[in-house]
């Protein structure tokens, strides 16, 4: 039986836009927890240390497009630092994560931002996530300080909590909105003339 595509509107199928997103940041700031919260809606108090680069996909729906993230969650330990370019190379988006209760992790985050500015794709969409916002009583990195830094460097910025899920979806959503999504076709019912020659999608985001 032939492959079928029932229900496709005249004008043909539009593919979901796929983007490579990489998470960077010091060990134990909660990169894997953010991904786990975002993708599976789960949280583990004792999340295993990532030895490698975990891979998951997650789709988000925007007003006018569907964005599929291919998420690479990298190991944070310093010994693996030199492998990071394998993952941020070719990435269209990056989330640099720090822990608001750990000053050192904020410094590391800044280093990551610098490295991305130097080495990653010039069009990469970068977000800074101050994670563990639920532990505000142990806060050492002030919101204003991080926000000012993010503004200087044109980063998206949110404080997040993988534990309470605060701002987790939002930060991915905010990134999706900043990504260069070519407007899809055949979107609204009744507006597409079936005799109109099929338009080719421009841009590299969509397969």
């Amino acid at each position: 039986m032939a492959a079928r595509n029932t229900g496709a509107r005249p004008g043909g199928p539009n593919k979901t836009c796929q983007f490579k997103l990489v998470l960077l940041g010091e060990s134990a700031v909660g990169k894997s927890s953010l991904v786990l919260r975002f993708v599976k809606g789960q949280f583990h108090e004792y999340q295993e240390s990532t030895i490698g680069a975990a891979f998951l996909t997650q789709t988000v729906c925007l007003d006018d497009a569907t964005v599929k993230f291919e998420i690479w969650d990298t190991a944070g330990q310093e010994r693996y630092h030199s492998l990071a370019p394998m993952y941020y190379r070719g990435a269209q988006a990056a989330i640099v994560v720090y822990d608001i209760t750990n000053q050192e992790s904020f410094q590391k985050a800044k280093n990551w931002v610098k490295e991305l500015q130097r080495q990653a794709s010039p069009n990469i969409v970068m977000a800074l996530a101050g994670n563990k916002a639920d532990m505000a009583n142990k806060r050492v990195v002030e919101y204003e300080e991080a926000q000012a830094y993010a503004e200087e460097n044109a980063l998206l910025f949110m404080e997040t909590s993988a534990k309470t899920s605060m701002n987790v979806n939002d930060i991915f959503m905010a990134i999706a909105k900043k990504l260069p999504i070519g407007p899809p076709q055949g979107e609204t019912t009744g507006t597409v003339d079936m005799n109109q020659p099929q338009q080719q999608q421009k841009g590299s985001c969509c397969k």
Binding site: M1, A2, A3, R4, N5, T6, G7, A8, R9, P10, G11, G12, P13, N14, K15, T16, V39, K40, I51, G52, A53, A54, F55, L56, T57, Q58, T59, V60, C61, L62, D63, D64, T66, K68, A75, R79, Y80, S82, L83, P85, M86, G182, P183, P184, Q185, G186, E187, T188, T189, T191, V192, M194, N195, Q196, P197, Q198, Q199, Q201, K202
Partner: protein, 693 residues
Amino acid sequence: MTFYMAPASSAANRNVYVAGRDSNVDEVMRSWEHKYCTYKEAKICISTFNVNGRSPPPILPGWFPSETGDISDIYAIGLQEMDLSVGTYIIDNTKKMEEWIDCMRKSLPGGEIAFEVIATMRLVGIFVAIFQWRGSHLKISHVSTNYMATGISVLMNKLGNKGGVAISLKINDTWVCFINSHFAAGNNELERRNQDFRDISHIRFANGMRTIYDHDVIFWFGDLNYRLSTEYMGISNEQVRIMASSNDFSSLLKYDQLREQMQRRLVFDGFVEPATFSFRPTYKYDVGTNIWDTSEKGRVPAWTDRILYWKAEDSIKIENKLMESVQSISISDHKPVRGFFRLGVKKIDEAKANQIYEEACREADRKANELLPQVKLSQTEIDFGEVKYLEPTTRQITVNNIGKSQVRFNFEITPLGKANQSISAEWLQVTPPHYVIPKGQSTQISLTVSIDSKEARKLHEKAKSSQLQDILVLHLEHGRDHFIPVTAKYSPKCFGVSIDQLLANKKTGDEVSEDDTCPKDLPREIFRLVDALRRRGVASLNLAESTDNTDFIQIRNALESGHPTDLTLLQVSSFALYSALIRLIDTLTEPVIPSGMDGIIHYEFIGVNRDARALWTAVSVLPPANRAIVEYIALMLHEFISQNAAIREQLPLWAERLFRYPPQTATLLSAPDPRVVALQTLCEYRRDAVFLF
């Protein structure tokens, strides 16, 4: 240019589900159809009629029954041989077509005004028309038409002798395709008919974007021209006619070519028609009668006129209520066939569909993430501990495939500054570098650290620390990466060290005994090896012997630990001792005769290679230890050659190891290597003898 219609209201268009973007999401949405669709029954009547080129009467009573009052929503009527006049192939004559549409309208139940023509399509004599009853509540949309000619004459460029016409449309939200076709005629054109099916099934709609199989349901009807293969079975035309006139159609249907070809899946694969027929063969009659063909050709009766359907999924509800011929109509040599169907058509509630779209995306992601390859490693980190020169050590990692399908893995080239774009550091070998593990199975990966002479020297240059480190990146195809840090401790004492370190060993080594005859500036390791060889004597040294690694390890351990002091006590051959000496010189991190500043020292030796006095003068300006080694080796070789002439053949090997760098001046291939000449000179003319005069 990008073509995009801005939505009227952004809020109203939020998360609109559009099929065809992501096949995973579509699959979920299809399986959830009941959540956002309502279903209605559509009554569909199909009729196919080969009209033999006849002009229609104003009305064909009985074509579509009306007395029951049961009117179908949709009538799809296919004609073949609507126009046989020669001119038809050249001039597009619409007169016959209009007459037939008129006849159809009038023959439909409820009269001509009760129906609306939805679409028609014509390929010369092959014609299809779709009517919708005005009382029907079904919404028909997205109508598009196409045809495919399969005519027999290449010269006539397929002018529509045979072929198919098709109409694609949506009934509510169910896609339906109607195909009327006329296949090749003749008893022996079976393969040609099958080819007609294949050709026509390539019809596409909507600018080629939709194939016939991109519909929920296909109705395929027409004069398919499949015959009865009774002749080959020895059944006479007369017998067939008797059977065809009786009510025993099932015994005749056994010989139907189409059934036979479908059973062998050669044609109409997946299509359905009733298990048996309750009507006579529809071909061939004398026009105006119900009498089998009495012409000269006397055709054997056959069910040439057929109605089949195909559905995309089991879940689609379609029922064939009735299939029959209309025996009373006799204007043609064929009888019309009609079929009544009930099709469950869906209506998508777009708001509901859009509501669950996000959920469907998540479900699709969940399924996709679940299917990602997964492996478990028996060890996530490998520490080789102490590794030694020329003593390969191997460790195993078991990779267990714990995912839901087979997994393909490979080691990635990493940016860790490894030479030659390798997956691992030069001192580390990984096998296999890639592999496929079936579901539920496992495989072993071997990691081997081995340090040869070249590597020993290189490691010394690279890192002063004794820690060797590498990280392997094991990549699962379409999945994650695992990092495997590999460490080893390499602290060479004798092999792979500098001359300075050998001298330092001497200071920290065991207490110097009274009768120590080791020259002051000579590394003790060299002295011990040479001393042992001397005492054993080299007359019987067999240079063709091979030495195994365990011998070497014994010697190395004795040299490193200082025990036994006397190497002759070791259970190893003289050749093993001799080989160890060569390796010791070979793994020194710098050559005994240094290249010096811009190779000057080296060049001096080469330049004066036949002048013993000049050579010894050059030796005298070397650092004390280097000088001691050259003097000692030269003296040793002098002695050994006198005991065993075969050792003379070893001079190039020794020259190579003492000088290391190739001669800087290009020499003729036939000319002797100046390094060898220099060493030979040093051996032949002992220093004290030269300076005696």
